[in-house]
Symmetry: C2
Subunit: 155 residues, 2 copies
């Protein structure tokens, strides 16, 4: 359901006296078209600019901020010095990220095993969980293999 998020945004904007502008629409469109990438503000800017050359960077940031507050978009951070954005978990499955420390590849894992952990935490800490971010750091298959070769037989 591609138009879903767009329609949802229009309703939420109207309900709170915000305006539904072409710029806001296009930012969301870019995000829905790339559900499995983790675009930075800069990358979103470049993609929107193709169809709407007059857009400014400030609008990108203000829109991403708005969409994040509306819980339509998630802001994530992989420690590379910039924020990245993706359609909210609620629009998709829960997922975690595997980040390879050798090649920096980001692998997505769809999984709901965290639900049990969330229940425990909610109970023990009186903490109402709305969202989570889970990242595993390590070595992906390719890099592990490469590493083993380099270790056993030096080039």
């Amino acid at each position: 359901m591609p138009g879903n998020a767009l329609e949802r945004m229009r309703e939420q904007l109207n309900a709170q006296d915000y305006k539904f502008t072409p710029q806001r629409s296009m930012v969301l469109q870019v995000l829905t078209e790339h559900p499995d990438e983790h675009l930075s503000a800069d990358e979103i800017y470049a993609r929107v600019k193709v169809k709407y050359p007059d857009i400014g960077m400030a609008t990108i940031y203000r829109t991403l901020d708005l969409l994040t507050n509306l819980n339509i978009v998630n802001k994530v951070n992989f420690g590379d010095g910039k924020s990245r954005f993706e359609i909210s978990q609620k629009e998709r499955h829960q997922h975690h990220h595997l980040i390879c420390l050798s090649c920096n590849e980001i692998i997505e894992v769809k999984d709901d095993l965290l639900i049990q952990l969330e229940k425990t935490i909610t109970k023990e800490h009186d903490f109402e969980i709305i969202d989570h971010m889970v990242q595993f750091y390590g070595h992906c298959k390719k890099c592990s293999e490469k590493d083993n070769k380099t270790k056993n037989k030096p080039q």
Copy 2:
């Protein structure tokens, strides 16, 4: 063992032809003295400056980078625009963070429930996990109670 990380750093530095300088020593010392806070570069700078007034910000960053690469220190990010640093998980228990979306309080949870999830991921994705970062976003007890009284007001 408080001197543990310091000794480990000295050895690792020597082994790789890096030098053991007072600046590096003091940065690590500050981090071991505050194991449960999540200090930013700026905060570490201020604390080191008390005992070593001539230190420069660049040295702080270069040292934190080095310690992170040596896996002595962990770089974490709570989305507040700056990186934060803490003694590596290996020196302590595994822990997760609960981040309150209302008051921004960061609560630590020590827990090893993630081990099962890690095993599953390792098996299914051939991904060798070295470390993880887990953050739960939601509302803490205090804010949940406050919210119920003040409903209908976003932000």
